[in-house]
Each structure stands twice: as structure tokens, then as C-alpha cells.
Symmetry: C2
Subunit: 159 residues, 2 copies
């Protein structure tokens, strides 16, 4: 008997209002995070490629490597994966482009990222900090929270 120990209160005084969540729920939390981690990097690449295309007209591997502070070899390998996932198209030694699916993902990520970033600024976080936090947080914010953040930001701007 490992969990759900009826004698727990004998060995450790229960801490009121701060109990462990039920196992299934707890497991769900961790599983969701692990899941997010799998798509996270992919989304970051796609989002960045989308941004480079929008702002520069082209997305080169070297740009990505610089902006992600990662070696070109790493980028090259990643591009192969993005290709396999049919998120980008690429001819060797040429700029990258996004497929339909890639564009969709880029837009979604971008929107999500912006909502979080604007929310943090509306909350009073300094820009540089907000950017760093947003980059890390964006993949872990549910749609529910996202729409609450959006409403909050709009509300803030009215005042």
C-alpha cells in the first residue's frame, strides 16, 4: 500500500488546505507538461521561421542558429525533422519556407506568444523580463488561461 494511506496523519500532521491532489489528477499534470515539451521546440523553430519570413523575407539556417544561440549543425538537423513533419519546405542551400501546416502553427504560436507577452507587460513586468518569461511560459498556458489573460490585458488598456 503506497498511496492513499489512511494512517498518514499519524506520521505527518496534515497540512490544512494544502493536500496533495488525487493521484490521477497529479499524474495528468505531469503528463501534460511532458507532452508540451515534445512540441515546444518544434513550435519555437516554426514560430521563428515565420517571424523571419515576415520581417526579413527569408529564413536562413544561419539566422536561426544566431537567434537561438545554437550551432548551425543543430539547426540543420532540426530542419530535417521539420521537413519530415511537413512543416517547412527547403531546398539545399536555400531559404526555408513554411507549408500550410507550418504557417498555421506559426500563427497560432505567434498569437499565443503575443497574448502572454502583452499580458505580462500589462501586469507591470519590465519588457526584457516579460520577453524571457513569455518565451518559456507560452507553451504551458492553456486556452482557458490564455483567454483570461487576453481579457485582462484589454481591460487594463481601457484604464
Amino acid at each position: 500500500m503506497t498511496d492513499s494511506n489512511p494512517n498518514a496523519s499519524l506520521t505527518a500532521p496534515s497540512i490544512p488546505g494544502d493536500a496533495l491532489p488525487p493521484v490521477e489528477q497529479h499524474a495528468q499534470q505531469y503528463a501534460t507538461v511532458r507532452n508540451a515539451h515534445e512540441t515546444e521546440l518544434i513550435e519555437d523553430y516554426v514560430e521563428l521561421i515565420g517571424d523571419l519570413l515576415a520581417h526579413r523575407g527569408e529564413a536562413r539556417a544561419a539566422d536561426i542558429a544566431n537567434r537561438m544561440a545554437v550551432s548551425q549543425a543543430t539547426v540543420s538537423k532540426m530542419i530535417r525533422r521539420l521537413n519530415e513533419l511537413e512543416l517547412v519546405t527547403s531546398k539545399p542551400y536555400r531559404s526555408l519556407f513554411l507549408t500550410e501546416a507550418g504557417q498555421k502553427m506559426a500563427e497560432t504560436s505567434r498569437a499565443r506568444h503575443d497574448i502572454v507577452l502583452h499580458f505580462l507587460r500589462a501586469l507591470g513586468v519590465r519588457d526584457a523580463t516579460a520577453r524571457i518569461d513569455a518565451e518559456g511560459m507560452e507553451h504551458h498556458v492553456s486556452d482557458e488561461t490564455l483567454s483570461i489573460m487576453q481579457r485582462f490585458t484589454e481591460q487594463q488598456q481601457k484604464n
Copy 2:
């Protein structure tokens, strides 16, 4: 010439108020996230072990496996790492305990986690969602943002 293309505006119309951050800052963002990812899992384990000890009086590998929805083998391997990092002490087939350093980490993580969770609830996010989001977000929230969240929650509770 890869970045900082002076002709960018000729190929892509600049999107006002939404430019790419300077390369160094951009790189910093990604680097920070990558860095967080390295400690994230460790912190989650240590935090969970701390919680189990507090609420149950003991932390068994099987509990951790159940709550993280991960195989016992994975937990066993991870415990070896935590041991090497001198965050936990363990005798085979016995409950785990936290070292000084482990306790410190557990407390910090726990506090951080709680601030984010309470903030999300104060913001109006449903409990189940808040728990999932908090689990993912906690490792990506800077101290600056954290203290703003805390203030916000306190403010909210006064009203």
C-alpha cells in the same frame, strides 16, 4: 551577411511595432528557456519528494512513479541522479529523504509553485486548469514576475 539586412524593408514590408528583438536579446531568451529545461525535471522530482514527505511521512519510488505517470525504472534511474547531485539520500528498498540542499530546493520550488497557482486562481482560472498550467509555468517565471504575481494575489484577496 545574414542578419541585420538593410534591404529587409524592400522584400518584406516592415510590420510596425512588432519588430524582431535584437539578436543578442533574442538568443538570451532561448538560452534561458533551454537552461530552465535542464533543471526543471530535477526540481519537479525534489518538490514532489518534499511534498510526499510532508504529507505522507515517506516518499517511495512507487508513489513517485504513480504520481508522475512514469515507469518505476525511470524513477529508479532518476533517483540515482538525485543521489549523485546530493539532493536526496536513499538506502535501497527504503524511503527517500532530502539532503539539506534538497530541502532548500524543495522549499523554493514549492513556494514558487504556490505563488503561480494562487495567482492563476486569483486571476479567475478554474482550479484543475490552474494546477496544470502552474506545473508547466513555474520553471519559467522570473523572480520579478513572481513577486508581481504575489502582490496581485494579495491585492485580489483584500477585495
